[in-house]
Symmetry: C2
Amino acid sequence: MKKDLSSDALEPVAGNGLLHRRLFLTQGAAVLGSGVALMTARNASAAPLEVPATMKTPGVPASGYGERSRFESKVQRITNGAPPTPGTGGSRTPLEYLEGIITPNPLHFERHHNGVPDIDPEQHRVLIHGLVERPLVFSLDALSRYPLVSRIQFLECSGNSAGMNTPEPAQQGAGGLHGLVSCANWTGVPLSILLQEAGVKPEGKWLLAEGADAAGMSRSVPLAKAYDDAILALYQNGERIRPSNGYPVRLFLPGYEGNMNVKWLRRIKITAEPTMTKDETSKYTDLLPNGRAEMFTFPMGVKSVITSPSGTQKMQGAGLYQISGVAWSGTGKIRRVDVSADRGKTWAQAKLDEPVLSKAIARFRLPWRWDGSPSVLMSRATDEAGNVQPTRAKLMADRGPNYRYHYNAIQSWNVTAAGEIGNVYV
Amino acid sequence: MKKDLSSDALEPVAGNGLLHRRLFLTQGAAVLGSGVALMTARNASAAPLEVPATMKTPGVPASGYGERSRFESKVQRITNGAPPTPGTGGSRTPLEYLEGIITPNPLHFERHHNGVPDIDPEQHRVLIHGLVERPLVFSLDALSRYPLVSRIQFLECSGNSAGMNTPEPAQQGAGGLHGLVSCANWTGVPLSILLQEAGVKPEGKWLLAEGADAAGMSRSVPLAKAYDDAILALYQNGERIRPSNGYPVRLFLPGYEGNMNVKWLRRIKITAEPTMTKDETSKYTDLLPNGRAEMFTFPMGVKSVITSPSGTQKMQGAGLYQISGVAWSGTGKIRRVDVSADRGKTWAQAKLDEPVLSKAIARFRLPWRWDGSPSVLMSRATDEAGNVQPTRAKLMADRGPNYRYHYNAIQSWNVTAAGEIGNVYV
């Protein structure tokens, strides 16, 4: 079973030290010859380990609802500095601290327009009315009786990465710049079933979804999406959804901009036309260079960001590194991610961890032997429909300097000879 | 796109009201005719909803590390009553409260033999020694530089469901009986890479894995598993693994009994033979009716349990219900799950939510029209290798009354005319 590929596996496949992704395809067959020193950051000393104090004293017992280690308290969502009103704002997922494809619930991003309401699920109701044969009211218990469906899917705020339109690149980490995206295992009732039960009249073509928060968040959604894959989400990563994500029930529209996934859902009204609410006319429209604005630009674009190494982190000297990051598309599956270590001159295809799911975060990886010289790292995602993540220069040229929703350009990280990593415009 | 299947879709496909799983295949095409009243638990009144208090007062702002709703505090892991020493015992995942396939970290089951140690990751080291060319010591920083791999996989304690060997069925819920199983997105370093770097000598065939807890937990693992899919896990559902799951690093052996997945890993010693530690000779062996015991029975068997409706829950009157549950196998993917509502006389195939992953929990669902009469619900899983979950009667006949590890028999839930649900032996 073992095949010695050590010499091949450590040959560069693109400029500035990018190695072939098969170096990471280690399952089932060995890709390195016995004794290949892969990492510089290892200690070959084999002095017996000291017996630690934890082996001499019993630990703490089991608990009902577990906590993380006290040594991890630095890992926090990145909250807005000082919003004009306390409930206006949000917090970003610290992407650079996370791995895999699932975002743990306490670190899922949040975006609120008038704070997080405290809703008693026993009292909460969801009304379906408007252009229907039979207006219906659902308690949470009633909703829970319906057929459920679970899927792993991302959610991204339409305004994610909006800070990338500033003239000079903001010096923040991957989460600070792009952390209004997360991915979870969502479970809920297919909206199509509820609409069939209510009986949508032929003239019904849109729905208005309204939240029970103090912003009265409300957005218009085409019924085609409701019949396709929309759910009324009740669970997030196994447990009931968190208050900051819409407890006890939110609309979930896979791949569509986050704001439309109305939290604390209390009302769905079937309409003939979009309602033109405050939330879709004053905001969540895409201003173009010619002064016009695009409305109802629902699906989020294909996008990726390298999370390790990334802004605010520091390289630990020349040697072999793993480049790792996240990619997603509102259109479907990620087909491939390419990585460059030489400012976009040459590219190498990254490995994607299984499973690669539709409208979910995919995790990509590529080995990189850094020689200690100044470098620029970039990642470029392609989805199954063939959409390719644009360069920042192209996106800004096409959409103009005021473009702030649906920003999905390639992120570039500058690595200095000293190992400092920063946000750079290429 | 809409096809009216209402009459078909509500026809039973197996005894006592089981309906076809296509009733849940609602994506893209409507399976119910417009206006079909699917659920009894709905309220057709359409009086305007009152504006709730939450719409009149701003909510709370965003936070760094989120909390669940105060209304969900009843959802807790099920801890042991009174273990002889505080750190001996564990807690079970409350399966009947959860949905989807991911177990949130605070509710992942735990099993400890001398409590949970409080380990400083800066001080922690992992030693690889024994029959190797180059003994190596790894800090956490060094481990994090290696290629990582992420997968969604279950973990199950070998002693899960052991309480099912009592003469009379214990009246507990799905979690109380079978909750020593959970499923997460695990990320870590393939052990094969570290072993190649250390250089295993030809006579090395096994490894000893030792934890840094006060039990000095240690187990022998065949090297074939180490080269196959074993990882040193650093992350669990995106964030660093929890203390109760081995922070800062645990051995993770997909599909193998939980106890071998040594937590708080501090040492791997390559050996020619199994070490015969206290933990694999005094425990984690399978006593047979003839008085002999099987050792080193590593993979967990194919298994399933209906979580809704399930023990300690109560039916809300006759009508349409969703039967939902979890299935898994240490051998590979779940191929199918069949459900019976008539004590095993007839069976119908359940729907599996995508993705169905190797050595991961799969979520199954089937619609059931309960007519209010006494019923027995059962689920039977089959994996891709063709292994079929046995009946309890067959398992107990084959393995004897002292069998307490690797119990994987079919779970039966008794439903009374009053809607009470209890554990029953069939």
